[in-house]
Amino acid sequence: MYNILAYTMYLLITSFITIYVGYCCHKSGGMYLQYLLGDHAPCQAINNLLLCGYYLVNIGYAAWSLHDGFQIGNAAELMTTLSVRTGSIVCLLCVLHYINILTFYLLSRKYIHS
């Protein structure tokens, strides 16, 4: 019973976080891209494709990471497992986010210096 509850909550929480973060990044990322790549670059297209890829990777990974299953006996274990799983997804998101910022920064430097 706890397992089913945990799966449901896990999927709901991770999808909510993924979608919300994606929306925020998409909103302010467009401006950042435009600044870094210049006005001529197709920033909106890049931005939309990035959002699409991001959703695929994250929701896909969140769902895939259920493959080993939860073994939950009581409410405290439910809390622990749920938090640790969600926390690792959020950390993963953070790493991807910083890699993204760094990539665009490096790309823009290459553009400007060449």
Binding site: V21, Y35, A76, M79, T80, V84, C91
Partner: protein, 134 residues
């Protein structure tokens, strides 16, 4: 009994850790706007966009870390709960402080770089026409 005390510990730890993260991020990025404006040469829209991107990153990193370290073992009574909880929250607060300083250092460094860049441009193209040539 044991399960209930653990559950109580988790229910105290989560709001405290998340509240700390939110407060620190709010303070940091409210004051970080000034640095961002300097880094992007007073262009408000791009400075605010970058500020919010870094804010998202900061929230993700710290909330993720707070959730990942939640596991508290061997809570048998109220005393051990208080000890464990204090250790956890204290450790997390120290970690947050280090992150805050690191972010501040990055802001300072970016600002220094931006000023250097501006000075070089001014030297190359003369003070008044620097922007036109660029």
């Amino acid at each position: 009994m044991n399960t209930q005390i653990s559950l109580l510990a988790y229910f105290i730890y989560l709001p405290v850790a998340l509240g700390l993260t939110i407060t620190v991020a709010h303070q940091l990025f409210k004051n970080g706007k000034v640095f961002m404006l300097d880094i992007f040469h007073q262009q408000a829209d791009i400075a605010l966009a970058t500020n919010s991107l870094f804010k998202i990153g900061f929230y993700l990193l710290n909330v993720g870390f707070a959730l990942t370290i939640i596991r508290m073992s061997a809570i048998v009574n109220a005393e051990s709960m208080i000890v464990k909880l204090s250790t956890k929250i204290g450790g997390f607060a120290i970690y947050l402080g280090i992150m805050l300083m690191l972010n501040l250092y990055l802001f300072m460094r970016g600002r220094k770089k931006a000023r250097q860049h501006q000075r070089e441009l001014n030297k190359l193209f003369g003070t008044s026409k620097g922007i036109e040539f660029e």
